[in-house]
């Protein structure tokens, strides 16, 4: 298989405009003859569904929640980047492009990333027109802040709920089209398979989560906007329902999976409090602007936050400030996370042993409690609510947690996967963040894909396809898919083993976290592979899913998702094994500089790993898409 990224020729800044001109258009009168299926209604899905419906296409949209507004985009706190240069501080499309490429450790395509930076400015205009209440200054114009260590203030925000406000904007546009009858919305409905016939995506199979009804939906194109797969780790900052099932089903139907091992671990999360822990809560990394990260110089097992106050300065190790004097506590997410892990590996972790302190005592002394309260009050309250500790009086405890997956379905410049007619948008694709994502860029990418990329690129495919090229749900391809889905559900229900879905998921998560988490070794990864295979075998023999298909059955929903995570986990390990360099969020201990920093290997690994599924229990086949850098010169990151 030859991977064609379809990046247009020509100068970087002209690629997208030229490409848009070269794309075929669908006659306005014919658009209503096309049906597009959109799975997932987060930022990417809602914006795509609304925009396509506005153009005149008929859209069927699906989400597993009871409302499109609840998709996990809603939880993004910090903000959204855009190269508006409203601050006159030297920002530009090129600079946003450059920062994103560099932040991704040179493992993303120049063409895609430049386009992302280019359309970022339109996103803000669109959202404001929809009534998104961004933060404003007294003069009535939009406010910006610097985020995630960026040198310019290009982040637009809506208090600590930027994701919610942007999603409500996209959701309102979606609602308008539902009311118009252009979008048919299916809530509490989960996609369980993609139907492929003649090598093209033709529709999907879904399960109604209330009645259990398995249904076939036929369309001219299918858009997967189904988010990331961080929940393979069981504990992550993702919503409990976030899953890989749609993407994984597509993968098994021929869509290549790009860079599955690229995971972002966020340093400022609330540590695990016990075996009951069901998810991890992220606190905005803006906390690191004023908080100082430290552990005791000598191990103090079980040290509590309230006792930390008594530890004298001389006995504290502010390890980020010590190791990275110029960036200090503001080093990128992966560096901060890794160093917290090292401190804990040395036995100097606090609390349960898997936590470090984030201390605001100095900031409070310097600026006064009022100033700190104004900046972080809601985060402090949230922390206190969850942990019971008061961060005004004692340091917070934090530990890294899985937050975002840069990997995802491989897509070309048109966001089309390797299956014609099947697209992946937002976090579900691998495209724009390389090996590491910058803060405030996830929202940007989701909305860029949905509002400003797919409406153009899908037209080209549909115009070439023709509206009559659609198969009915009676087609054997649909029937086969439907039967497969049904028999898989019956299988899950019939095992009646001794372990609950959550128990098995936890075991998988722990293995992934230990061996394919913040730092990875060949030995560990090989061990993980064996463990995951054994666990997967156990799952299919020993899982206990009660109840029937014909009802709201949350255990059954979870079981189907965990089964897919089991398979994905193995692929992530394969990918991490293959990539024996360190880059971005992927740290291979074998590949580090003498002073312990990540060492990229551009000679061997300047490519996208795109994995092809070859059948059950067959090794997946790796395809490499070489990355070509014509405009920026890859350099090693340094934060010393």
């Amino acid at each position: 298989m030859k991977l064609d990224s379809k990046i247009p020729e020509g100068p970087l800044a002209e690629k997208w405009s030229k490409h848009k001109f070269n794309l075929k258009l669908v006659n306005p009168a014919n658009k209503r003859k096309y049906e597009v299926i959109v799975v997932g209604t987060g930022l990417a899905g809602a914006s795509a569904a609304a925009s396509l419906a506005e153009l005149g296409y008929n859209v069927k949209a699906f989400c597993f929640q009871d409302s499109p507004r609840r998709a996990h985009s809603i939880a993004a706190q910090g903000g959204i980047n855009a190269a508006k240069n409203y601050r006159n501080d030297g920002d530009s499309i090129y600079r946003l492009f450059y920062d994103t490429i560099k932040g991704g450790d040179y493992r993303a395509r120049e063409g895609n990333v430049y386009r992302l930076a280019e359309v970022s400015v339109d996103i803000i205009d669109q959202c404001v027109a929809q009534g998104v209440p961004f933060a404003r200054e007294y003069g009535g114009l939009l406010d910006n802040r610097s985020f995630g260590g960026a040198q310019v203030s290009r982040t637009f925000y809506a208090r600590g709920q930027t994701g919610q406000q942007l999603l409500l904007g996209a959701y309102s546009a979606l609602n308008r089209q539902i009311a118009n009858g252009k979008v048919k919305m299916y809530t509490r409905t989960e996609m369980l398979d993609v139907v492929v016939s003649d090598g093209k995506a033709r529709g999907i199979i879904t399960r109604d989560l209330i009645t259990g009804k398995i249904e076939a939906h036929s369309g001219h194109a299918v858009l997967l906007c189904t988010g990331g797969y961080g929940n393979v780790f069981f504990l992550s900052t993702n919503a409990k329902g976030s899953n890989v099932t749609a993407a994984w089903r597509a993968h098994k139907k021929g869509a290549l999976f790009g860079n599955p091992c690229f995971t972002q671990i966020h340093p400022t999360c609330i540590p695990v409090s016990g075996d009951h822990q069901s998810k991890l809560t992220l606190m905005s990394e803006s906390l690191r602007n004023d908080g100082r990260v430290w552990v005791p110089k000598v191990a103090r097992p079980g040290l509590k936050a309230k006792d930390a106050v008594a530890i004298p300065e001389a006995d504290r190790d502010y390890f980020l400030e010590r190791k990275y004097p110029s960036f200090g506590n503001l080093v990128p997410r992966d560096v901060a996370s890794r160093n917290a892990k090292y401190a804990c590996d040395e036995g100097r972790g606090v609390g349960s042993g898997l936590a470090v302190f984030l201390d605001f005592a100095d900031a409070i002394k310097r600026d006064g409690r009022k100033v700190i309260e104004a900046k972080y009050g809601n985060l402090f309250d949230m922390y206190q609510q969850i942990t019971g500790d008061n961060p005004y009086e004692m340091p917070m405890m934090i530990y890294p947690a899985v937050h975002y997956t840069m990997g995802g379905l491989w897509v070309d410049y048109n966001l089309m996967t390797s299956v014609p007619g099947l697209y992946a948008l937002g976090e579900a694709n691998f495209s724009d963040h390389g090996a590491n994502r910058l803060g405030a860029s996830a929202l940007m990418q989701g909305l860029a894909d949905g509002y400003f990329v797919i409406p153009y690129t899908i037209g080209d495919y549909l115009a070439n396809l023709g509206w009559s090229d659609k198969i009915s749900t009676d087609h054997p391809a649909f029937r086969e898919s439907l039967e497969n889905v049904q028999s898989r559900i019956q299988k899950l229900l019939s095992i009646k083993g001794r372990k609950t879905v959550d128990e098995l998921h936890r075991e998988l998560g722990l293995t992934m976290w230990d061996y394919c988490g913040m730092s990875r070794t060949e030995e560990g990864l090989k061990k993980a592979k064996t463990k995951i295979q054994a666990l997967r075998a156990e799952f299919w023999e020993n899982v206990n899913v009660l109840g029937s298909n014909n009802e709201l059955n949350q255990e059954l929903e979870k079981a189907g998702r965990v089964a897919d995570f089991m398979e994905l986990g193995e692929l992530m390990v394969d990918d991490a094994l293959n990539r024996s360099e360190s880059c971005g969020g992927h740290f291979r201990e074998e590949s580090q500089t003498p002073d312990g920093e990540a060492l990229r290997n551009d000679e061997k690994f300047t490519y996208v790993s795109a994995w092809e599924y070859k059948g059950d229990n067959q090794p997946e086949v790796l395809h490499k898409e070489e990355l070509i850098f014509e405009n920026v010169k890859p350099s090693q990151r340094s934060y010393k």
């Binding site: 998709a71 709920q161 919610q164 609602n175 308008r176 539902i178 919503a239 609510q385 709201l552």
Partner: protein, 249 residues
């Protein structure tokens, strides 16, 4: 700590429901309320009993999916979402009664899961600004006084969980609807459709069989996002003036 849970169990929409009692003796103070339910469900599955169905997703207080009526209050004794409530709020040995949201407009699907699509239909009736993607003015061409932007934001903070309906003795949705109406009425972008929006959204709210507001203010007291009843007053004003002056005869 030990607790006793009294949970509403109902097989399906039309089935007859009843309370079931579950003693739990290995509850940690650090558990969230939903994690305590995870533990219960794990125990139930091991015993071969049907686990309790409940809605939840983000578990960080923003998606608005979780919806338990705990000891007589939506989301329990604190003014937060169920997922952010922790067991340290309860006493050792306490009996905790958990019910679903009760409203005619929120029919029960199973156990503690209710159908809130009535909220969806209200929003579809007009909770948007009719702009298509593209072709909009530059974001800074629409200056908005900070005070209005902040008020719009306060209203927009609603997470659509339905606690206001659950708390209201009349199962009225006016806090929710007024938050949506207010957000857009306060912004210049919302002006062109200001009148039809409030007329249509209120009409849909009534069609969904929500009750009428009697200003008991329970909604505001229970709202996990602190949405203010000043929004209800604003919606009333908007509605009366729209009815009096719109051309929609």
């Amino acid at each position: 700590m030990k607790i006793t849970l009294k949970v509403w169990r109902q097989k399906s929409k039309d089935a007859k429901g009843e309370f079931k009692t579950y003693p739990l003796d290995h509850v940690s103070q650090d558990m969230s309320f939903l994690e305590m339910f995870d533990v219960l469900n794990n125990d139930l599955v091991r015993k071969g009993e049907d686990p309790v169905a409940f809605d939840h997703d983000c578990r960080e207080g923003i998606c608005g999916m979780c919806s338990m009526y705990i000891n007589g209050r939506p989301h329990g004794p604190l003014q937060t979402t169920t997922c952010q409530l922790h067991m340290r709020t309860f006493k050792d040995g306490e009996t905790i009664t958990v019910e679903p949201w009760r409203a005619k407009a929120f029919p029960i699907i199973k156990d503690l899961v209710v159908d809130r699509t009535s909220f969806e239909r209200i929003q579809q009736a007009g909770g948007y600004i009719s702009v298509n993607t593209g072709g909009v003015p530059d974001a800074n061409e629409i200056p908005i006084p900070k005070i209005d932007a902040d008020k719009a934001f306060d209203a927009a903070a609603c997470i659509g969980c339905g606690a206001c309906v659950a708390a209201c003795k009349n199962a009225s949705a006016m806090l929710f609807v007024s938050a949506k109406v207010s957000q857009l009425a306060l912004l210049p972008q919302g002006q062109p459709e200001r009148k039809t929006r409030v007329e249509n959204m209120v009409a849909q709210m009534d069609a969904e069989d929500f009750g009428a507001c009697t200003n008991t203010l329970a909604c505001e007291a229970e709202c996990p996002k602190g949405i203010s009843v000043t929004n209800i007053a604003r919606m009333n004003r908007e509605y009366f003036s729209a009815k009096a002056s719109s051309e929609n005869a």
